[in-house]
């Protein structure tokens, strides 16, 4: 039996909101980054599902997913570097305590 498109999209939406909630409520910068990854992958799941559903021969949606992987990798590299730099500056990864940009 084939899983319906609605199920894919529902899982994708659940994952995305879990990620969003994580970004909003967690304070640990590393966990926030992980949640961002979760949101990106939720989007990937939706893209793959739509790609599969549309009966096109070229896997245009899947190609998009590959692009997002690459960008996510770059984003993680930069994000972790920032967290590391912030940690060196001040020994914490709690984003609520890093408020030096306060106006």
């Amino acid at each position: 039996m084939s899983v319906s498109l609605g199920a894919f999209v529902a899982v994708s939406a659940v994952l995305f909101f879990i990620g969003t909630a994580g970004v909003l409520v967690r304070r640990n910068a590393i966990v926030i980054l992980m949640c961002v990854e979760l949101m990106l992958n939720a989007a990937n799941l939706a893209l793959v599902a739509f790609s599969r559903r549309s009966a096109s021969v070229d896997e245009r949606g899947s190609v998009f997913v590959v692009f997002i992987f690459v960008i996510a990798a770059a984003e993680v590299a930069v994000g972790l570097a920032i967290v590391l730099a912030a940690y060196r500056n001040r020994p914490t990864v709690d984003v609520d305590e890093i408020q030096r940009m306060k106006g």
Binding site: V23, V95, D96, R100, M101, K102, G103
Partner: protein
């Protein structure tokens, strides 16, 4: 030669630029030589121009270029060369040259030497523009230029407070007068649509505007003249101007600049003659100033201040002459006065130089053996000022006073005669206190020495002018060379000649001579024989003496009436500026600061808040898109 008339002001201008730009670093004391040479060359050209005018070219206009051309309104940078301006050119350049030579000695030890000559050259340039101009606007350029140079040179020793205060006073009072000149000039433009002397005076004769307009113009111009020529009510800057170096006093505040007002009125004779009461006012102001300043000069102890008040008084005589319809006599007196008053000032400078800067006559005395050249030349100049024949002052002053009588102004004549007595008195007193009697300060007396040749030679040259100028150009009275020469350019149209009989002339001359002799005799009685003793006289005169010593309290009156009122007015203006003008700008600034302060709180620095904002924004967009897709907004 007349075509080269522009060289006359160009040379001093070049000297100004060279001295001013190169003097400080490179030329130093050569600036004096350069400036003197330039002015000397100007004098030579001026003599050439004068001779050519004498030879018959009585009216030439040398246009340099068109300055303003709007529609049919034209103002050219052009020189009007006629007998009046050629005489002025001659007087200005010759007297300036002698004073420049003298200054080389007088200013030799001053660290501002180059600056002095730069500004003096600029002054001569401006003065020459003033007397050459063929229109009211160009004349005003020179008019302002001499005012500026006067300010710069009075405040030459600006390290001390008195000179710069005096300079400021002179400038402000001149500006008040300039206001009158400007009003007059603008009115002339509005009425005649031209500023050319030729056009304006032609219109006055052929097609005059109403009497009241002409009177307004004449009074306004005359008010300007009172500022420049130190007449009541704007005279009080001139005595203070003595804070400048003595050659400046001689050149600017005795011989040339202060005669600008006289020149202006003489130049505008057709206008004034047609303007009803204007000439009468000129004459009355002149006469009152003459006697007013002469009384102050009676009791001053600063040798330069005596000369300053004397200058104010003599300028009053010139305006008196203009007022009674004798412009030739006014210019005649202007020329002779330029020589003998410059000589008196330069002589005073020589004395001051000799006694190490002391100006108080009470500390001098007995200097005649120490300073023989200065003494004899000043004696001649003093005689000219007291109007003793055959010295220059006699001819010109006698003519003024005589004209007042024959033209029907007996009261002005009486004032003139009485002023002549006062004049003779104060000049005798000043010369006696300086040169005769016992030395009162032995320290000063012992160190006194005659000035070097570079200073005494100009004195002698001026003395020659003082002796011969009067009868050389003024003989016979009322019909001498100066009259025949000048009358075409200053005659009053329609005025019949008041030719006095020979008997009247002789009687008038004897009366004015008697007045001079009387003044001298009284002064000699008081200061030589001490009978009556001047101190006792001063004590007996009590309050009157104090009024004179305090110069009628005019400075105090001006301070209280005008300066304080102005200060109060400016206080209000200041408050308006601070509270309203600045206030608005500051309040706007505060608004921006407050707004920024509020918005600042948005930037919490907490990443979570930003993320929340992003998500909230996203939700809003989603809801909006959902609504759009569902067609909520289309209906």
């Amino acid at each position: 030669m007349i075509q080269n008339v522009w060289l006359i002001p160009a040379l001093p201008l070049a000297a100004f630029l060279i001295s001013g730009l190169l003097g400080r670093r490179w030329l130093h004391h050569w600036t004096g030589v350069i400036a003197s040479t330039a002015v000397g060359a100007s004098a030579v050209i001026a003599i050439g121009v004068f001779l050519e005018v004498l030879g018959g070219k009585t009216r030439t206009i040398v246009s340099l270029y068109e300055w303003i051309g709007v529609g049919d309104f034209r103002v050219n940078v052009a020189a009007l060369v006629d007998p009046l301006s050629s005489v002025m050119l001659l007087v200005v350049t010759v007297v300036s040259f002698l004073i420049f030579v003298y200054s080389n000695g007088y200013m030799a030890h001053d660290h501002g030497f180059y600056r002095f000559f730069a500004w003096m050259s600029l002054f001569v340039f401006a003065m020459l523009i003033l007397v050459m101009a063929d229109n009211f606007l160009l004349l005003f350029v020179g008019w302002e230029g001499v005012g500026l140079c006067s300010y710069l040179l009075i405040g030459f020793w600006f390290e001390r407070p008195a000179p710069y205060v005096a300079a400021k006073k002179a400038f402000v009072m001149n500006r008040i007068g300039d206001w009158g000149y400007t009003i007059g000039m603008i009115t002339i433009f509005l009425v005649f649509n031209s500023l050319n002397f030729t056009d304006v005076f032609a219109r006055v004769e052929e097609n005059p505007p109403t009497q009241s307009v002409l009177t307004l113009i004449a009074i306004a111009l005359f008010f300007g003249a009172t500022g420049k020529s130190a007449q009541l009510p704007l005279y009080s800057w001139l005595p203070d101007a003595m804070e400048g170096p003595t050659p400046v006093s001689a050149l600017i505040h005795a011989a040339t600049m202060v005669t600008a007002g006289v020149y202006l009125v003489a130049r505008s004779t057709p206008l004034f003659a047609a303007a009803g009461p204007a000439l009468g006012i000129v004459g009355i102001v002149g006469a009152v100033t003459a006697i007013f300043a002469a009384t102050i000069a009676l009791v001053q102890f600063d040798i330069k201040r005596v000369m300053a008040y004397s200058t104010v008084s003599q300028l009053g005589y010139m305006f008196l002459a203009l007022g009674v319809g004798a412009p030739v006599a006014a210019i005649f007196h202007l020329a002779t006065h330029a020589f003998f008053k410059a000589l008196l000032f330069l002589g005073s400078g020589s004395v001051i130089h000799a006694v190490g800067g002391e100006q108080d006559m009470r500390k001098m005395g007995g200097l005649r053996r120490k300073l023989p050249v200065t003494y004899w030349t000043m004696l001649l100049a003093g005689g000219a000022l007291a109007a003793l024949p055959p010295l220059a002052g006699f001819w010109s002053k006698d003519e003024i006073v005589g004209a007042a009588f024959t033209n029907g102004y007996p009261i002005l004549w009486a004032i003139g005669i009485f002023t002549a007595v006062l004049t003779a008195f104060y000049v005798t007193r000043a010369l006696w206190m300086t040169f005769h009697g016992e030395p009162r300060d032995h320290h000063l007396h012992d160190h006194a020495h005659e000035s070097p040749g570079v200073m005494t030679l100009p004195l002698m040259a001026l003395a020659v002018g003082t002796v011969v100028l009067g009868f050389a150009i003024g003989w016979p009275p009322e019909a001498g060379f100066i009259h025949r020469f000048l009358t075409p350019s200053v005659e009053i149209p329609g005025e019949s000649e008041h030719v006095a009989e020979v008997g009247t002339i002789v009687v008038l001359a004897i009366v004015s001579l008697a007045a001079g002799v009387l003044g001298i005799l009284v002064a000699l009685a008081m200061y030589v024989r001490r009978r009556p003793d001047p101190v006792a006289v001063a004590r007996a005169a009590g309050p009157y003496y104090r009024i004179l010593v305090n110069k009628y309290y005019i400075d105090e009156l001006y301070d209280h009436r005008f300066v304080d009122a102005m200060r109060a007015l400016f206080g209000i203006a200041w408050a308006f500026d601070i509270h309203i003008v600045d206030g608005i700008a500051n309040r706007l600034g505060w608004l921006a600061v407050l707004g920024g302060g509020g918005l600042r709180r948005v930037q919490t620095g907490i990443v979570g808040n930003y993320a929340l904002t992003i998500v909230a924004g996203l939700l809003v967009l989603l809801v909006a898109y959902g609504g759009y897709a569902a067609g909520v907004f289309t209906r």
